[in-house]
Symmetry: C2
Subunit: 148 residues, 2 copies
Amino acid sequence: MKLSTRGKYGIKAMYELAMAYGDRTPVPLRAIAAKQGLSENYLEQLMALLRDAGMVSSVRGAKGGYVLTKHPGQISVGDIIRVMEGEITPTDCVGEHAEFHHCGESAGCVARGIWEKVKQNVVDLLDGISLLDLCEEARGELRKDDQK
Amino acid sequence: MKLSTRGKYGIKAMYELAMAYGDRTPVPLRAIAAKQGLSENYLEQLMALLRDAGMVSSVRGAKGGYVLTKHPGQISVGDIIRVMEGEITPTDCVGEHAEFHHCGESAGCVARGIWEKVKQNVVDLLDGISLLDLCEEARGELRKDDQK
DNA sequence: GAAATGCCTAGTGATGTAGTCAGATTTAGG
DNA sequence: CCTAAATCTGACTACATCACTAGGCATTTC
């Protein structure tokens, strides 16, 4: 039931890009990795996934970096996780490839109903949180800190 | 975000025991494995986990097998998964070892709130389903089949 | 005593994770 | 034009986990 680091790193990286959304300059990998404390080399590979999925675009060369292709309000945490880790489901028999409906043999799989509910729950939750939400929450925290 | 087979096998095995609860005779591993189509040798190792956790007791020798130690209504799917796969949480930084509260560095981890919600959701759902529920659902399906 | 069962330990091949590393390519700015 | 700053690409590695298989021992019933 664990997420791998990929999903987490992906969200952290996308969050940094969301915070910089509106600045006209792309954010270099190095800056993202430094701020979030991630391995630069590893993150590079992960950014390739997000790029291929069309969620970020890259600018090569000096002063280059990455930019979101959509408004932060348009990108959900669920979208990111799907890119980084594949379909969000506790088990493959409750997935898009619904061809595999045979887990048990006699009366079908006992547990199927459980997995369906878990999946629905998690998907709804993750798709309901956008990068914008994360940014606003973070900015709210900062304001609270200021008031101290 | 995937479950391993252990959780699934654990639930299937416990379900078989729940269906036999009330019969005075223990259910042999072989019967469970056969009904659910699982590897006997592998399931043996998994049953050891459930036994050590006190969820089933075993009877050795001929006519031996396994029995639930509690009423099926008293055992939740969440309990089983915790035994088979460890704590139910999408990431270790949202776990019982709350000592590790440092994911990011500046303002804490951006994603923490997400994981907490996911965890809460899934835990509540899984703890809300008992083996008895599974049995009743299965028996309901059978009745529907009879009416055809 | 034989058959049926659980108990225990060791080993194994495949897969995935989380990287590291080296080098090629592209671009801005002086 | 040169250089430094970036991304792009592919190969490689160390480690852990998963899902088993296999074999032998211990216990109990008939």
